[in-house]
């Protein structure tokens, strides 16, 4: 057994159980006495509930409990309103339903069939209300209100404290960022570019739908098995809703079948617990694929961007208005909008800014976190417009980015100093990978010598991005050194496919010099593991990795003290190497020291590590991110000028990973994020008809498959170590996704000279744009 190490690919700890079908996911679990839950959902986008009569449902054989608004309104033990930012959600609808699929009632029964039969017998009278189905509708004066008023939580997220809903409107939040003097900035510009870009709502489409098993003991003790990325947030929310201390709520998370942001914050947990409480027995609730589309989506957006540029390409001013469709409930939309606003300047030095980013309520299913978290939206506009500017000024798009792009020590839009900025290395790497500039370009950008026949044109495009991680935040880890020198690691980081178990074990193993085979990373159980804010925001390697590193070092320092005491060697003469303790005249195994300390084959040393990031950085500045994500992508495409058919030929994704802890794991994250980006760029879109999603299934909502892969994807890890990360490592989960769509759109422009500003980039849009271009006689 070789010692674990960082910077080297090790077989992932979750692999054998997964390739043999033995890994336990929530759908594979059951508990004794468990019954089955089902949810009755609104057929209307906006309606008042006049009457609910569930008496027939209660009489259906096998029905154990029926939950309606009466149960949550008249129960002293339930706080009906909840939500991560604003308390605008209820377990079931109270006065109104606000989107198609909004939960109205729920049933627990001995069988799924009985539960479904009971749902059909619940009578609900609705009074339909006018609905707002787009951001434009929602912002019109006198528009129907999704929420007449919104309850604010007693204490919320520190970074969102200044954001509030605007009473009497559908504006959920309005984030403002002003820098320099916007008027003077535009006055100093030689050229001004104004464009509007849009993106549709999309869905995470993890193959494992949201699910929950809940059990409420007679004393009020709540246990949930949940498909959640942030068990401690779910614990807090459940404690608030059911009015118990957090110690009375236990959240257990098995392996997740994908998360991608769609499993943060409470989803099905509150309604499952309410059902279990009413049923007096455990309840399992598993969403159908269709229900997932009613539960959470990615924000559709409209982005208006006006940019002032000097004729040499220097960016001098930007005004930007971002409207994000947050759907019927705020969820985490306010933070998504804030992050969109922060990144509306892209990874560029722009001295004069006026940025307004809104999350807007509509009568559509709620939008929340999605891998890329608001930056996918802003970067679509920023990076598309960069190429519009480059084309107009006849500057190479790569050169324009490098001319304006952030360098080490530059100030971010918040005036905080950027650290570990590998942006330009990422740009250079992707440019090299796809052979940037190695094509002669004709006047309209078409590349003649690459053409396969006269109808197929090739082009190349590039894009890049900067993103922040959630700050402030907390991660804690506990490690236990067992009597045989094996190690158990306890963290709240959820293994959802990203390979966190292996990364944590490699970090601890490197510190202690012990093999991976002797390390066990335990599953997440809030009764057992210490607090962690969330497995999202690409934060776990940086934060939890550091906490694990500190916990392992805590073990080393305890071993040192024990050796000093038991063997009479001064602490400063005790060193560690290769999993051994070195003394001036001897070498000890950890297990020898454990035996000496405990006097028998037994005992445990407990090490602890905590990371708490702050709103102040080491320069004493206000900090909005504990570290920075930098990445670039480059695409080579073929476009058929007769039909608009677009094929992605090559894609390169470069991400500044800080330090690759597990190189194969980095490749997986980069490739995977790029492929998710390809789906978002080329075809993914939730289509609505009067607020009703019309493709809430995986036949009509198409996901990328093996056949959609380009000839190659080149995942490139750039390493600019962050001094605060474990061994310099940063997070990487989202970075590679964000540049994909604009890189492809820029490649399409390069190939055929048409600019697509509305995602997804479908053949018919390219075709129509080509037709329009021909009609204009270019």
């Amino acid at each position: 057994m070789e010692p674990a190490a960082i910077g080297k690919t090790f077989r992932r700890l979750d692999y054998e159980t997964k390739v043999t079908g033995r890994a336990q996911y929530l759908a594979d679990m059951s508990v004794p006495g468990m019954c089955h839950g089902k949810i009755l959902r609104s057929p209307y986008p906006h309606a008042r509930i006049i009457r609910i009569d569930a008496s027939k449902a209660r009489a259906v054989p096998g029905v154990v409990a029926v939950l309606t608004r009466d149960d949550i309104l008249h129960d002293e033990g339930i706080e009906p309103f909840y939500g991560p930012v604003f308390k605008d959600q209820t377990i079931v609808a109270v006065e109104k339903v606000r989107h198609v699929g909004d939960p109205v009632a729920a049933v627990a029964a001995l069988t799924v069939d009985a539960a479904e039969e009971a749902l059909r017998s619940i009578e609900v009278d609705y009074e339909e209300l006018p609905a707002v189905l787009s951001v434009d509708d929602a912002l019109k004066p006198g528009a129907p209100l999704v929420h007449e008023s919104v309850k604010l939580p007693a204490s919320g997220f520190a970074d969102l404290a200044e954001l509030k809903p605007i009473e009497g409107t559908n504006v959920c939040t309005h984030f403002r960022l002003n820098r320099g003097d916007i008027q003077k900035g535009f006055a100093a510009a030689d050229r001004i570019f104004e464009d509007t870009f849009t993106l549709p709502a999309t869905q995470h489409s993890f193959l494992e739908t949201h699910a929950c098993i809940a059990s409420v003991e007679p004393g009020g003790r709540i246990t949930v098995w949940a498909t959640t990325q942030n068990p401690f947030v779910v614990r807090t929310q459940l404690a608030n809703i059911f009015k118990v201390p957090v110690s009375k709520v236990r959240v257990i998370v098995p392996y997740l079948g994908g998360g991608y942001g769609g499993k943060v914050y409470p989803k099905v947990e509150p309604i499952t617990v309410a059902l279990a409480q009413k049923a007096g027995r455990p309840v399992r609730l598993m969403l159908t694929r269709e229900e997932v589309f009613y539960t959470i989506t990615k924000h559709a957006a409209v982005i208006k961007m006006k940019t002032g540029v000097k004729s040499d390409g220097t960016l001098v001013a930007r005004e930007c208005e971002i409207h994000l469709d947050t759907g019927a409930y705020a969820e985490i939309g306010p933070r998504v909008a804030k992050k969109s606003g922060y990144t509306a300047a892209g990874p560029y030095r722009i001295p004069n800014l006026k940025i307004d980013s809104y999350s807007v309520y509509t009568n559509k299913p709620p939008a929340g976190a999605f891998r890329g978290f608001g930056v996918s939206q802003s970067a679509w506009a920023v990076e598309s417009q960069m190429d519009i500017i480059a084309a107009a000024l006849k500057i190479d798009p790569l050169a324009l980015r490098k001319q304006n792009g952030y360098d080490e020590g530059d100030k971010f839009v918040t005036e905080e100093t950027l650290r570990a900025v590998g942006l330009k290395q990422c740009l250079d790497e992707v440019a090299r990978s796809i052979g940037w500039g190695r094509m002669e370009q004709s006047s309209n950008g078409a590349v003649e010598q690459w053409s396969r026949g006269k109808n197929i044109k090739r082009g190349k495009g590039i894009a890049c991005m900067i993103k922040a991680t959630i700050t402030p935040s907390i991660s804690s880890a506990v490690v236990k050194l067992n009597e045989d020198a094996s190690l158990s690691i306890y963290t709240g980081t959820v293994e959802m496919g990203q390979g966190s178990e292996t990364v944590m074990a490699q970090i601890a193993g490197q510190e202690l010099g012990i093999p991976l085979e002797t390390i066990q990373v335990l599953g997440v159980d809030t009764d057992v593991v210490p607090y962690d804010l969330t497995t999202s925001s690409s934060r776990s390697t940086f934060h939890m990795g550091k906490a694990v590193q500190l916990a392992a070092r805590d073990i080393l320092s305890q071993l040192k003290q024990i050796v000093a005491k038991e063997y009479g060697v001064p602490e400063d003469q005790v060193t560690f190497a290769d999993g051994k303790i070195r003394l001036p005249e001897a070498q000890l195994n950890y297990s020898d020291v454990m035996f000496k300390r405990f006097g028998m084959q037994g005992g445990t040393l407990v090490g602890e590590g905590q990371v708490k990031t702050s709103t102040k950085n080491e320069f004493g500045e206000k900090s909005t991110s504990a570290f920075w994500f930098l990445a670039a992508g480059a695409a080579e495409v073929e476009v058929d000028v007769e039909t608009g058919k677009l094929s992605l030929v090559k894609y390169a994704a470069a991400v500044d990973v800080g330090k690759a802890i597990n190189p194969l794991g980095c490749r997986q994250q980069l490739n995977g994020a790029a492929i998710t980006g390809i789906g978002q760029a080329l075809f993914e879109e939730i289509a609505y008809d009067n607020g009703q999603p019309i493709n809430p299934n995986l036949v009509d909502y198409v996901l990328p498959s093996l056949g959609d892969m380009p000839e190659s994807i080149d995942p490139i890890s750039v390493e600019t170590p962050d001094p605060n990360g474990p061994f310099g490592a940063k997070g990487i989960g989202e970075s590679a996704l964000i540049p994909v769509a604009p890189a492809i759109a820029n490649a399409v422009f390069d190939a055929v000279g048409v600019r697509i500003k509305d995602l997804p980039i479908k053949a018919e849009k390219i075709f129509l744009a080509l037709e329009e271009m021909k009609a204009k006689g270019r």
């Binding site: 079908g21 990203q498 997986q668």
Partner: protein, 153 residues
């Protein structure tokens, strides 16, 4: 109305009582406790529920258990012996062809069926044959590498 069916699952004879409408996936997961195959789309397009029925991949979410009466079923649990994993399982681990793992049993079983039919598939044939399995974590490049390794190409 229940019907008795006989299946040979992972080389063991099993008798099951199922409703006429019980899917093969539910029968295998709930009655036999073989949970490696997952429900994903419930519409026969994502491949997470793939089982091999007489050696051919079927979407068990949309296949009635009664229609499998008399058939030989292979699930991921039956693919490897107790001592060694199947070469596809080894290759998936070596190349990193999985992340969350929810699609993995479906991919491995579909790839096995492909290699049984066509031991040296071309890249195009692999893309076609595995085109009905989704990996939302996006391990396609690694899956392609793993399958090619086992096929020796």
């Amino acid at each position: 109305m229940k019907k008795q069916i006989h299946l040979r699952v992972n080389d063991m004879d099993r008798r099951l009582e199922v409703e006429a409408r019980t899917t093969l996936l539910d029968a295998v997961r709930e009655q036999l406790g073989l949970t490696g195959a997952k429900l994903g789309c419930d519409m026969q397009v994502c491949g997470a529920c793939t089982l091999l029925l007489d050696g051919k991949p079927v979407s068990a979410c949309s296949f009635l258990a009664v229609d499998a009466d008399g058939a030989e079923i292979l699930t991921i649990e039956g693919l490897s012996g107790t001592s060694a994993l199947h070469p596809l399982q080894e290759a998936f681990m070596e190349f990193g062809a999985l992340q969350c793992g929810y699609c993995t049993s479906g991919f491995i079983l579909t790839a096995k069926a492909l290699l049984d039919e066509q031991p040296r598939p071309s890249e195009e044939q692999i893309k076609d044959y595995l085109g009905g399995n989704f990996c939302r974590c996006g391990c396609y490049q690694e899956i392609m590498e793993a399958v090619k390794k086992v096929a020796g190409c």
